[in-house]
């Protein structure tokens, strides 16, 4: 293929140029800036001299990072919370989304109506979701329950009541428990602390996030199910497969790429989650619902710890990149082949 520059091709490149420059400066340039800032001794309000990009301060190499991972209790709780949130959020969205999609695929009367109900939360801001669920999951007091606790009391199901996002505790294996003793014996005694537990308050935030995003997963799966040719199902039926077997053996393998897309999309949303936390709980009791994205905002824009915030941002970026770059690279390769 020979490509020669002519007038129209030059115009095409010139049309794209402003966007290329904007992306290079506002994405890659700014990421570079943040990376550099994360190595500076800049954890106070410092003036930036005219014509300079950074304040006059010395480099402390990776000290900001080392501090986060060794002495910063809040950050370590945040890491735990992010992992808990990501695992439960992705797992629940996939399970709920796939189930709803399969149920809706059974020639349902008024399918479009159900689909719209499952999907509409996607159109709403995380801030609205946060405000509403903050009231729904507000426990109130045992005598005067509020929100869903009140609903459970009214329905005669008081055992379902919970402290929701106000619960500062974490579920973990204590060193005395059988599993804890086993872990200690195989040299993993370090994980028998709340720092390696499941923050209960975080699960309330997961509930709100699943309410918002599982319809999206359903839509992805439903689009995938509609792409499965009827002949395949017919052929399996002729071979004597039950409906369950058809889903298990024929359709599920075909949906694997969709699961991968969904994990990437939900994963990067959950690593970046900020709005929902901000509106629903904030850092929570004993940082029970704090996440790195919220800590970064808090420490930079309320505490002027610019370098520490920059370091958190870069850690976030790396974690998202680990998730997304292989996927993008693969998508691009198939793109080029086409």
């Amino acid at each position: 293929m020979h490509w020669r520059l002519n007038r129209d091709r030059l115009i095409a490149i010139l049309v794209l140029l402003p966007s290329i420059i904007a992306v290079l400066v506002f994405i890659y340039g700014f990421i570079g800036w943040t990376s550099w800032a994360s190595t500076l001794n800049w954890n106070d309000m410092l003036p930036i001299p005219k014509g300079s990009l950074f304040p006059n301060t010395n480099s402390i190499q990776l000290d900001n990072y080392i501090r986060l991972f060794t002495v910063d209790q809040r950050f370590q709780i945040d890491l735990r919370n992010t992992i808990v949130f990501t695992v439960f959020f992705i797992g629940s969205c996939l399970a709920v989304g796939l189930s709803l999609a399969i149920f809706l695929d059974q020639r349902i009367w008024n399918e479009g109506f159900f689909r719209s109900i499952y999907l509409f939360p996607m159109a709403v801001s995380f801030i609205v979701t946060g405000v509403v669920w903050r009231w729904l999951l507000n426990p109130g007091s045992p005598e005067a329950p509020v929100g869903v606790n009140q609903l459970f009391a009214n329905l005669g199901l008081p055992f379902l009541q919970s402290r929701w996002y106000t619960n500062p505790e974490a579920l973990y294996f204590t060193p005395e428990s059988p599993v804890g003793q086993l872990l200690t014996q195989i040299g993993l005694g370090a994980v028998t602390t709340p720092n390696f537990g499941i923050s209960i308050a975080m699960l309330s935030v997961v509930l709100a996030a699943v309410w918002q995003m599982s319809g999206y997963t359903m839509a992805l799966y439903l689009a995938g199910l509609r792409g499965v040719p009827d002949e395949l199902r017919e052929a399996a039926r002729v071979d004597g497969a039950t409906e369950f077997q058809i889903y298990r053996r024929v359709i599920m393998p075909l949906l694997a790429p969709i699961t991968l897309s969904a994990v990437i999309i939900l994963g990067h949303i959950s690593l970046k989650i900020f709005d929902l936390i901000s509106a629903m709980t904030g850092p929570g009791p004993a940082f029970a619902t704090d996440v790195p994205a919220y800590y970064m905002f808090d420490t930079v824009f309320r505490g002027n710890h610019f370098a520490r915030g920059a370091a958190i941002a870069i850690i976030l970026l790396i974690s998202v990149a680990v998730l997304v770059v292989p996927y993008l690279a693969n998508a691009m390769r198939t793109e080029v082949r086409r």
Partner: protein
């Protein structure tokens, strides 16, 4: 296989519909509480009976959320609602135009390295914005300093009353820290990846033969765009504009960092402040939430089909 016209209803079907209805109830519970609370009169609002239906329909909470309550010193959301409109509409239109041109170039005028550039652009869709937030704020602040003399000049203009809108437009849309224009530009820039992606996929479906025919007729880059591509891209524009409208309307992080005063803050920031305030009653928070959700919900109800397409386009499979 089996006969369609079976009179007996299978128990599995009943269970299936029960599950679907229960799921629908789960998704609708927050909507129920939002609407019920918003429609209660002040006398009727009580946390102890928050699930009960309103005894008298009343728009008290809405009016209070919209106008504020001078006796308590709270400001209503009406101004912020308008700010969101002033921000979202031009930014969504502009982002769609930029995305359309980029998609056109990347789909129909490929050049050596264009796939690499596309990948570079695409990665921007996934970055956590925390990683660009500090330099972004500093950049907008420096633009603010640069535009200060101009703004002071504009402030001093002697304008006849019927031209006052010119001053208002300049003050609103000057790109700087703490202006709607600054926030709008930020949304256009960080919208480039997704709008480019959707349009590139959209244009890739349009056969090259159509453009070849145009070329033989002597049409150049712009001729092909305005006469061939653009008329075919109206559905694409609808998808992208809806997508951008809902994501900019619902956005919070840029808005809270880049707008410092209530006069320019979009509704998400104002609602978040309202919800964090102890002097604002919960029924007003609910009415405020409904107000903030209403525009995008209406779009979803009216133009759901296009909304879905935008959603699925985000999954890279176009």
């Amino acid at each position: 296989m089996s006969k369609r016209e079976r009179r007996t209803i299978k128990p599995t079907r009943v269970i299936l519909y029960m599950i679907l209805v229960m799921a629908a109830i789960f998704f609708l519970v927050p909507v129920y509480i939002l609407i019920v609370t918003s429609l209660k009169s002040y006398a009727d609002v009580n946390l102890a009976t928050m699930w009960a239906l309103p005894r008298h329909l009343s728009l008290d909470s809405f009016i209070s959320a919209w106008n504020g309550d001078p006796s308590k010193g709270t400001i209503g959301l009406s101004g912020n609602f308008m700010n969101s409109l002033k921000l979202t509409i031009p930014a969504a239109l502009f982002a769609a135009l930029v995305g359309s041109l980029n998609g056109y170039v990347l789909a129909k005028w490929k050049f050596p390295g264009s796939n690499f550039i596309f990948a570079l652009i695409l990665f921007g869709m996934f970055i956590p914005y925390q990683s660009i937030l500090i330099p972004l704020m500093l950049t907008l602040q420096s633009w603010g300093k640069a535009f200060k003399p101009l703004l002071e000049n504009v402030e001093a203009w002697q304008l006849p009353i019927y031209l006052e809108w010119i001053r208002a437009i300049i003050q609103t849309y000057i790109p700087a820290y703490g202006t709607i224009g600054g926030l709008a530009i930020v949304h256009v820039i960080y919208g480039i990846p997704i709008t480019t992606l959707i349009f590139k996929n959209y244009y890739a479906e349009i056969p090259d033969e159509l453009l070849e025919a145009g070329k033989i007729d002597g049409a150049g880059f712009w001729g092909l765009y305005t006469n061939v591509l653009f008329p075919l891209s109206i559905p694409g524009f609808v998808v992208v504009i809806i997508w951008e409208f809902q994501s900019i309307w619902n956005e919070f992080l840029f808005a809270v960092v880049l707008t410092n005063n209530a006069a320019v803050q979009p509704i998400t920031v104002a609602l978040n402040n309202l919800a964090g305030s102890y002097i604002v009653e919960w029924n007003i928070q609910m009415a405020g939430s409904l107000l903030a959700a209403l525009p995008t919900l209406l779009i979803f109800i009216i133009l759901g089909r296009y909304f879905m397409r935008g959603l699925l386009a985000g999954s890279l499979k176009g």
